[in-house]
Symmetry: C2
Subunit: 375 residues, 2 copies
């Protein structure tokens, strides 16, 4: 039976960072760990955030989040959290830093090892609690600031998705001004991540109409404003709309995601490739849209309406044109993926949590064909 | 600054009533007051609900909710709540019974007089708390089961809207099967109430895109399924979809409502007229849509897309056609309202909470013209 419940408090506007100290006070946090990465620090955003805090100057900072967050990095940050006597986490960054921060908060209260919390093996029953998290996104894509999930590459090489309503950050502080300096390529890739979230969430057969509505609104918004945000990074309106699309995408994917994410995680776990999650989603999305189309025709009508496409227009083709327009790679091959890697990817796609909520479940053969189509 | 927060746990499906006892147990309720009306009792729904409870046979029942709930009825129910030693409320019925039940729960914890909680005079600061409420809708229209508001006719004749996140029922049990016996006229009138909620919520300038998305999804659903639910009352799918549209309408109107509701409340407060809230909304909606149109063109495009109308189709005319098709009266005159009453309505419309969140605020002259147009 569908049980609808919604998300968390989200302060959202230009200048929302001004509410950070108030948010810390509300949660009673005296000594938060700021979990972030070196890019955020180098861009000056870490300093901006510290300046918004009463004791920002002496805050504990972990800035070594890798591009795809790993269990090893989580453990290093957890050690810092414990040795500094922290009482909560400020998860500051894109999806990687926010996911790392949320995972540190989980282990700080519920203890390790991390792999035991795999939702596919009943791990959610072992979650005792999570330290308070204030999430501050610096990209518009992941939506991790309001999402119940995080994705971590384990020491054993698996890219594991954790998902539990308890993992939703206690407070999200969404300030689009923090994304004004994001370069075009990262704006495009993270924006396509948000768009993929909205689309896959809507297509998932899980019954949750309010979440469908939120996903379609995010798609409507993201589709209109992404080209503007890519071309004119200082367009405050476009940045606001893209951050909203990102937040809405994560609201929507409480329903689940689909095979785009299953495939993207299967490639993204490879540390040798170092590929960006949003870019992977962007180039894989058209192939999966063609695969799913016969199984959810009415929903495709609704995608078209949100995207302003003509009746019966080819949704996959529209995505390909958008990818080209905003400078995404033409396919996996252009990103350095070769055909001989596909056999390694397929079992990971089949084992991914997102695979289960695709409209239909692709077989191993289907996944091979899908990876080929995305090359 | 927009602060987005969402609503309550909502068990939603055919047979959801089977979760009632579990919901009572979850809240630790041993002696709930069932707040309902004589129509619900006569239709056998009260017995169905009692049968879903362990101690249903001996439950305390208040079944004297009037068509538009009054302060006097609230006080009578509150006396019963207190004399029976109740510890919470099961609010069972349409908007009237649910609003009455929620108001009893408020006064049981926060104390009277009721008028002090007027949100327009800072009354929300006086709310100390509210007893646990499980809301069970028996119509698809009001959405009071997930809404933060209730509307009560005070002893002094004012129809007052109370609104506070604390007034959202703790648990909503939405079982569309309870609406299978609803007669066509009431199905049509309550359905148009849901549709009006979705439309007015979307048009409200308050910034809350997720709520816009939910409202548009509710409109998409309600517009497609209302004629089926009216013509074929036993169509379970149509009943499910209409109850979802109703719940989504109330999710959406956390943003606020507009002048349709301001006008409808101004008429509905008159006990001599005894007019149905949903029917009033249905016949007033076209006039307000024509008044608002120049001020929110992009939103009208989105309404058209959700309703499946052609580009630049007249939304107000589409509502008029729907009203005619499902048997709504042709206007206020056909409902027994006469022109000489308008001067009495206007100040109440201007003073209504919903007036403040219309896209533009009509003047007294505007309201006169709007009431005339709706005649």
């Amino acid at each position: 039976m569908p049980t609808l419940s919604f998300l968390t408090t989200c302060h959202f506007d230009h200048g929302a960072l001004g509410l950070l100290q108030k948010s810390l006070d509300r949660l009673g946090l005296k000594r938060p760990l700021i979990a972030t990465d070196k890019g955020i620090a180098a861009a000056g955003i870490l300093d901006t955030v510290k300046a918004a805090m009463t004791d920002g100057g002496s805050a504990a900072v972990f800035d070594e989040t890798p591009g795809n967050p790993t269990e090893a990095a989580v453990m290093k940050a957890l050690n810092l959290y414990q040795s500094e006597g922290c009482d909560g986490v400020i998860a500051l960054g894109g999806g990687s830093a926010m996911d790392l921060g949320k995972t540190v908060a989980l282990l700080a209260v519920s203890g390790g090892p991390l792999a035991q919390y795999d939702p596919l093996t009943g791990g959610n029953k072992l979650v005792k609690g999570i330290a308070p998290v204030i999430a501050i996104p610096t990209t518009s894509g992941t939506g991790s600031e309001v999402s119940l999930g995080m994705v971590i590459v384990l020491d054993d090489g698996r890219k594991m998705t954790f998902g539990n309503p308890k993992f939703i950050p206690t407070i999200a502080v969404c300030d689009p001004d923090l994304t004004l300096g994001l370069p075009p390529m990262l704006t495009a890739a993270t924006g396509m991540d948000a768009i993929t979230h909205c689309i896959e969430a809507v297509l998932t057969p899980t019954i949750n109409p309010p979440a469908d509505g939120v996903g379609l609104d995010g798609l409507w918004r993201g589709w209109r404003y992404l080209p503007r945000a890519v071309r004119h990074g200082d367009d405050k309106e476009a940045r606001w709309q893209m951050m909203m699309a990102s937040t809405e995408g994560a609201h929507a994917f409480t329903k689940g995601l689909g095979s785009v994410h299953a495939m993207s995680h299967a490639i993204g776990r490879r540390e040798d490739l170092k590929l960006h999650h949003g870019t992977l989603n962007a180039v894989i999305l058209p192939a999966v849209l063609r695969f799913n189309a016969p199984h959810c025709e009415e929903k495709y009508d609704r995608l078209r309406a949100a995207m302003g496409l003509e009746f019966h227009a080819d949704v996959a083709e529209a995505i390909e044109k958008m990818n080209e327009y905003i400078g995404m790679p033409s396919g996996l091959k252009a990103m350095g993926v070769s055909e001989d890697m596909i056999d390694d990817f397929v079992p990971h796609a089949l084992a991914d949590l997102a695979h289960r909520t695709n409209p239909v479940q692709p077989t191993a053969e289907d996944y091979k064909a899908l990876f080929m189509a995305a090359m």
